[in-house]
């Protein structure tokens, strides 16, 4: 029987939660003292205040892990978890103790952060951003020697789309209307179906958009969100923070991380039998951490399932540009739904996109959007309100989102150099994915599905019992044990599979394909050597 476990902070948070549940409801605004309201005991909470008075020791500071929101305690985010903290400490120590380690640098393969590993930004995009940041440049004749003509033209066009050309002003809560027009046109060109700019909400990367939808859909722990296992831990973290229940469905490793609707159906029924109202289905396509690209047939089944079961389809499509194999192609879920004849009134669909991924990899710009369709005007108004509380996403990120959805076209001055940069990055990523996959598959007891898309490999390691016992003795999960050993021996940082979820008893890690191509051979040989000696040490 499959069982997915997160241990840390669980018992503590349960205890705190139980305590809370003994309290009665009090409205947001505390009524005045005259209003009728019974007294409620809250000794835990009061003690923090009364203990504090007059005391000077740090132990009497009012905020403790026992008194904070248990949902925060419960949340986990492995991609920047313990192993990354260890890596950062190693990196600091390497600066002073260079000879103490069998490697001379830390190679971060833990996170999809291409430019941190040397990927260069697309020149045209950066030209436009610089001009929009400092529009006074557009009045200077020297500017024509420094920037391409189409970047200058595009900057003018964008500035004209922004009221008052004020790139330093808060925009409309959904983002600058003119930029949303551009994005909508890009989506239409991609899908061949209409897109309404009023369906676009520009956000600081995809993460805040995911949080916004979780906040909307989750009222309590009785609301369930279907997530693939393995999943990108943003989803489990966001569900934890909003107090909902993650309903797992397992991707099938044997069929290249296939998504089987029968498995999803089984999990929905199981959840419902436990009183969970399943609200939405998260699909990550191309997959993270699993790298598969869904077939269109499969997508149709998923759309039909969501339609039949009344689920919101939350489509994480941030890797839409990252497809590396000739037999697969990205199709947006909206295109699939529309081509099946399902319109705005048939299915609730949210598509997440980001400027952090693709061939551009502009993680630091924090740009992205969600396209929402199939929501009633009243619900949309609520989404708009939540967006308004944060005023707007950053304008550079908004501009960049419009650029990635409408890059240079044939005939533009930048077109050829843009295409060369783009194809150079994508073809290199494809080669890196292939090389790493082949190398991993050569390791004893390791099997690795191909990365059809996205930026990751998720190999399975059949760990010897002796290694599992050693991990138990070290009070760590066996895959984390393996990954820490790998880090300490090679400087390569990967994330244990337990951070993403995996079928119990199986062990994996996630490794990005992002180190620059000239580093790949060294990474391959370091991992290969490490694995061999690890197996020599622990082979049963």
């Amino acid at each position: 029987m499959r069982r997915f476990v997160i241990g840390q902070a669980k018992s503590l948070s349960d205890r705190t939660r139980q305590h809370h549940r003994n309290h009665r409801f009090v409205s947001l605004f505390l009524p005045s003292s005259s209003s009728a309201s019974g007294s409620v005991s809250s000794s835990r909470l009061f003690s923090s205040a009364s203990d504090m008075a007059g005391s000077n020791s740090s132990s009497s500071l009012p905020v403790t892990v026992q008194s904070i929101n248990p949902k925060v305690l419960k949340c986990e985010y492995a991609v920047r978890g313990e192993i990354v903290s260890i890596a950062q400490r190693l990196q600091e120590d390497l600066k002073v103790n260079k000879d103490a380690y069998p490697f001379d640098e830390i190679i971060y393969c833990n996170i999809g952060n291409p430019q941190s590993l040397g990927q260069q930004p697309i020149t045209y995009f950066r030209e436009v951003l610089a001009l929009c940041d400092h529009p006074a440049l557009l009045d200077e004749s020297q500017t024509h020697g420094l920037f391409s003509a189409d970047a200058i033209g595009r900057a003018w066009k964008i500035l004209d789309q922004i009221p008052g050309r004020a790139t330093g002003a808060y925009s409309h809560s959904q983002g600058v209307k003119g930029l949303r027009d551009t994005i909508a046109a890009g989506i239409e060109a991609r899908d061949g179906f209409p897109c309404d700019p009023n369906d676009i909400f520009l956000t600081d990367g995809a993460s805040p958009a995911v949080h916004m939808m979780m906040q909307l859909l989750i009222s309590s722990e009785n609301d369930g969100i279907l997530c693939p296992i393995p999943q990108y831990p943003l989803y489990s973290a966001s569900i934890a923070l909003h107090g909902g229940t993650l309903v797992p469905y397992y991707l099938d490793e044997a069929t290249g991380w296939g998504l089987e609707v029968s498995e999803v159906k089984k999990q929905v029924e199981d959840a419902r039998s436990k009183g969970i109202a399943v609200r939405a289905l998260v699909v990550i396509n191309p997959g993270n951490p699993t790298g598969q690209v869904l077939a269109e047939d499969n997508q149709r089944d998923i759309v039909n399932f969501c339609k039949q079961e009344g689920l919101v389809l939350l489509a994480d499509e941030v890797y839409q540009e990252n497809v590396y194999v000739p037999d697969k192609e990205f199709h947006s879920f909206k295109k699939v739904a529309r081509s099946m004849g399902y319109g705005e009134k048939d299915i609730c669909l949210v598509s997440f996109q980001s400027v952090s991924k693709g061939y551009y990899g502009e993680c630091g710009k924090r740009g992205g959007y969600m396209e929402i369709t199939g929501f009633t005007p009243e619900v949309r108004e609520q989404i708009y309100k939540v967006a308004s509380v944060n005023l707007c996403s950053n304008i550079s990120g908004q501009i960049l989102a419009s650029l990635v959805m409408s890059p240079p076209k044939v005939g533009d001055e930048s077109y050829e150099s843009y295409m060369a940069e783009r194809d150079g990055i994508l073809s290199s990523l494809a080669r890196r994915a292939k090389t790493l996959e082949e190398a991993l598959n050569k390791l004893e007891g390791v099997t690795c599905n191909r990365a059809e898309g996205a930026m990751y490999l998720f190999p399975r390691i059949n760990l010897p019992q002796k290694a599992i016992k050693a991990a138990e003795a070290a009070k760590t999960a066996p895959d984390a044990f393996y990954c820490k050993r790998l880090l300490n021996t090679t400087g390569v940082v990967v994330v244990p599979g337990s951070g993403f979820g995996q079928v119990p008893g199986t062990w994996h890690f996630r490794c990005t394909i992002l180190p620059q191509e000239d580093k790949i051979p060294a990474i391959v040989s370091r991992i290969t050597e490490f694995h061999q000696s690890f197996m020599d040490e622990f082979r049963d």
Copy 2:
């Protein structure tokens, strides 16, 4: 007896909440079907799914206002509320029906968004941002003709602070370490007390930082946060979204919006008698919407109170550069606390800062930080984890936050032009504040405290009974009735006091001081004429 009321969505959300509270706790990750778990009825939630199957009408879409998170329904944000929607519709209609209105433009005085009203960005800041966005410029000789030498030097310095000079990479979850060093040095120079860069969390504006703290501190409706009334509605919105209780304390209009600790104390006692655990005190200094600047004595009392009562002091200090009167000065709460001898282990203090305000007004860049002191390492780890889930704030905003905390210095090429821009903006804001305040005080039945700081005036209108009755007939709050009339007659957008909270039976509106100076006389005469005719119509 004072009573602060928010009506909208209340009964609906209460009903939904009651429903949820009948359900038992279910863990984040749904256990497998084999685990023991009693069945729980959730008919409301299931019906959405079963009603849906096979239906095609929009009424059967699975997400309705009845099924979404009631906390979202409960949240309100007046600064972009109904009156702004009306203004946007008017603005669209003005384009085609110019002659239908007694004004030719909408003047947005609803929000602190200086650049949307024509304020120009600080040249030096934008030069540095453009160079960091497109570092290839730094290798070109023409660049020296287009950018100041110190902007070029600063861009190099910043790029050297960013690992791999990668402005397109995710940074450390708290923000680029080198930029935090710069900010910490700026805080030390401001306060004369040490600042640890590891206490700084860079954020996309101040709003996400406020949300992060509310998320940490609020576990349930039994957790109370003290907020000034009137308050900036980010606070009420964030408390609502996180399910806590806003404990109001009233600023005293008669003493220039004074903050009296006796009033805060009374409200804390009242809250505690109702079973609320008061966790934190929000202070906005300079005040929003009220514009007062706290005296240092008063700040000491507040610090002592928080210390005695074991409250986290959440200091909204985003207007720290906006002080307009010679008899007042900004002092950070950290400086005040440290000068009283309270150290890291004595008091929990969070200071919020933003690049959106000050003389720079870079709202669209979404930069800001919070400085947290007095939290245990375990709690800090939890804050770090929550920051990590969103990866990092946008790098341009991070860079800008470092620039505003460390602007050009004497001797730098840009220093004089920078100072001229800065002082030009601040002195103009001071003049605008004075002119508007005097004009408002001349209106029949209107009294207006001076704007000592921040960007707002918050005049009180003694509305005639006849106007109040007319508002009741129109099913709107009297202050909203006045503001809508003002908008429809003059095109000037202000926010009704009810969006910020006010002593019941008093009516106010918030008006920014941000329209460019050449527009102020027209605004004054429009408001004066409108008010006179409004009073002529409704005078008792």
